[in-house]
């Protein structure tokens, strides 16, 4: 059987992490292709439904990445995101999701290698965990 390839949704802020991912591409830094990047204007606009919908549609992991606190284009995005993240972390924990499947990172534009590292680490960790328990599949 082919090796399990997790699906990861990365919600990346337009001004920092999305640019970092872009730079990672143009500077040919390798990172696993398991990640599907969704561009959002700010990490502070990430609504809880984005996280739950991703898991509902079969994601094995969700990453929310944006600017460092002082760099926010809209002044107060990151703290808003952190508050939402803490709430949702408790909710998905209750649903029985393992640690590491929902992750929050701050990656600025110049940190392309860090972006690659984060994705690599996340893919490695989720490969060990296997399929998300929230998927519509019956145990074999």
């Amino acid at each position: 059987m082919a090796e399990f390839e997790p699906k990861i949704i990365a919600l990346c802020c337009n001004w920092c992490t999305y640019a970092a991912a872009d730079i990672a591409g143009t500077s040919r830094i390798h990172y696993p292709s398991n990640v599907r990047i969704v561009r959002v204007m700010c990490s502070g606009m990430v609504d809880p439904i984005y996280i739950l919908k991703a898991f509902e549609m079969g994601a094995d992991g969700v990453l929310i990445a944006g600017c460092h606190e002082a760099d926010c284009h809209y002044l107060n995005g990151p703290p808003k995101c952190d508050a939402m993240f803490e709430k949702m972390k408790r909710v998905v924990n209750m649903l029985g999701l393992e640690d590491g499947r929902l992750r929050r990172e701050m990656i600025s534009t110049s940190e392309a290698p860090i972006f690659a590292q984060v994705i690599e680490g996340m893919v490695k960790q989720i490969k060990k965990l296997g399929h998300s328990p929230l998927q519509e599949r019956v145990k074999v």
Partner: protein, 380 residues
Amino acid sequence: MNLEDIIKETKTYYCLECGKCTSLCPVSRHNSNFSPRLMLERALMDFEGELIHDRELFSCLTCYACSNLCPSDVDYPVFTQKVRNLAFGQGEHGDCAHSGTLLSLMRLMSRPCIKQRRLEWLDGCRTSEKSEVLYFVGCAPYFQPVFEDIEVSPVNIARNSIKILNALGIEPMVLPNERCCGHDLLWTGDVETFKKLAQFNAQMIKESGAKKIVFSCPEGYRTFKLDYPNYVDLGCEVLHISELLVEKIGQNGVKFKEIKKNVTYQDPCRLGRHLGIYESPREIIKAIPGIKLTEMEHSGDESICCGTSAWTNCGSYSKKIREERLFEAKATGAEVLVTACPKCQIHFKCAMVDKGAEKGPDIKMEVMDLVNLVADAMET
């Protein structure tokens, strides 16, 4: 089920077009685009497409105020429920409150492989592995992180319910992997997921060997009592905690200490008009010495809904309904508004902390769940 079957089942063809439903409807009072009478007329004239794609289909609170006084006994809430199911099949969802987060959460609970960690709040409660009585917790643990910042603690209601059961000499079971009852999904049209949840719950309950299920949430109670029998076989008795308490109070089995408070009582629509339980919560409140219960202008089967149900269509009209209800509550001179539904509490608290409400008249007052009030009175 097609529209014709729905019309037959809910006796819509008996509609006299008298308009009582629309004049009683708490939504129609504020939102002139919504009218139960017109909805029924459209169904009878066979304008199915228009009915299904109407935004206002999801405006109904399914509070039963209309059917309660309908001279022809048309079951409008069930009509809404079934038409919403047709609409859901065609991709209509209505405007979900909280962008649909809570409904998504309920859908996630229908996934077969989940192993929930939902019982971390149980400290101080005595539960047993094997018992005849099962306490159905409901969504409280999930609502806790979501609604903590408006000062509502649904988990506290669950904890106090178990403590009350303990004081009555019952050590209930709680299911570690209990699923959502599916109430909100059923009433927003997602019957497929509702069925899955019902099957999971019924199977777990059967395996647990429970004979009686006790609820503190009226929505879960309604769903188990009236909706589950249509889909699954539970094979056990379902009870609301207030019914159990009234029985024990009647047998002098409960001692309350004095609480000096003026209170008023909000009938949750699921407990009141859906199931006809008006008296037992009132008897419990009256049994606590020192408490003065004053009824609101609209109470009992005339009481007004808290403004939102099943996490859909919470907008300015809902806010207005809530504000009006809170005015009524304040007008009684009571300090505390007692309700028996965690969602009523959430909705009223939300109206109070709303920034827009600060400019308007004062609607702030203490909102308390019946269970919490009883638990306070039982503490020695």
